[in-house]
């Protein structure tokens, strides 16, 4: 009897492994920085070039660092949602303007609206590398202690927000 059941069990196991393995999106990589302190930086603000911003300033707050750029087409698809969240005051969001031209970035925000409390300019992309950014847009959820709790690669959809990020913010704020 075993000689008939054993191959079936092995086969079912392989089906299960392939089912899970092939269902994953190979473009979504786990972040090496999850549950680690958000890397420090000190970058000039997009709208106030002579003022800087460092993540320590938001200690004690749960906030989102959103990596965006005016050349990034996918950023446009998450933008309306962010505008809505900003209007409702649902989240503190800082923009990391990644490898962009300052004027292009400003025009982009003027035309589409600015959902960020502020944006910082990472012209050379070095802070992006510190955060392990490999595809824009990316969003990092950072807790009150300045630790990265969640990373989202690609545009944030309404569903992503409602089912994953929003509950996490609630939990971290609680």
């Amino acid at each position: 009897m075993l000689r008939y059941i054993a191959p079936l069990v092995v086969f079912m196991g392989m089906v299960l492994m392939f089912w899970i393995g092939l269902g994953k999106d190979p473009q979504k990589l786990p972040s090496a920085l999850l549950d680690k302190p958000a890397p420090a930086f000190n970058l000039p603000q997009l709208h106030k070039a002579n003022a800087n911003f460092a993540p320590e300033e938001l200690k004690g707050k749960v906030w989102v660092l959103n990596v965006w750029a005016s050349w990034c087409a996918a950023c446009r698809s998450e933008h309306p949602l962010f505008m809505e969240l900003a209007r409702r005051g649902e989240v503190t969001m800082v923009g990391l303007n990644y490898k962009d031209q300052i004027n292009d970035a400003k025009t982009w925000l003027r035309q589409l609206g600015d959902p960020y409390v502020l944006s910082v300019s990472d012209l050379a992309g070095t802070v992006g590398i510190d955060y392990g950014v490999y595809g824009v847009p990316e969003s990092f959820l950072i807790d009150k202690e300045g630790v990265i709790r969640y990373k989202h690669v690609g545009p944030v959809s309404r569903q992503d927000w409602n089912t994953i990020i929003k509950p996490k913010i609630k939990e971290l704020e609680g």
Binding site: L29, P30, A32, K99, G125, I129, G132, Y134, G135
Partner: protein
Amino acid sequence: MRLTFFIILFTLFSSPLIAKEAVSLNDPAIDIERFKSLTSELRCQKCQNQTIWDSHAGLAEDMKTLVRDQMKQGRSDDEIIDFMVTRYGDFIRYKPSFSASNMVLWVGPFILLLAGIAMLFLQIRKRRQDIADTPLNADDTARVDELLKKQGGEG
């Protein structure tokens, strides 16, 4: 003729405009062979089946610049690789180091190989037992004798 001339002229002068500035390799301060071996060990996260040495993606160029700068600062190969791994995780390495989470991948094939060899030996032993000499009974001996005699007669 004139058209051809303009086409040639155009192709001659257009490419430098389109080409983005690649990381300069003519820097006497860096050892190009070392730079090549280091950047060939790092995976471009944007184009996942390319090393950053091979890739011209913006991110790969940035990473190459970083590697070059760190080489200039006199950092060792391990330090530079670690710098990338802490930011991008083990996936950035083409030759990942041994760790608890990828142990199965390193050890698994050898376990399967050992299991295969063990099964092969068991099979061989079992088969040996199956084909062990069993004495013929009287009927069979008589038949064999008869057949041999027949063959002897014909030959």
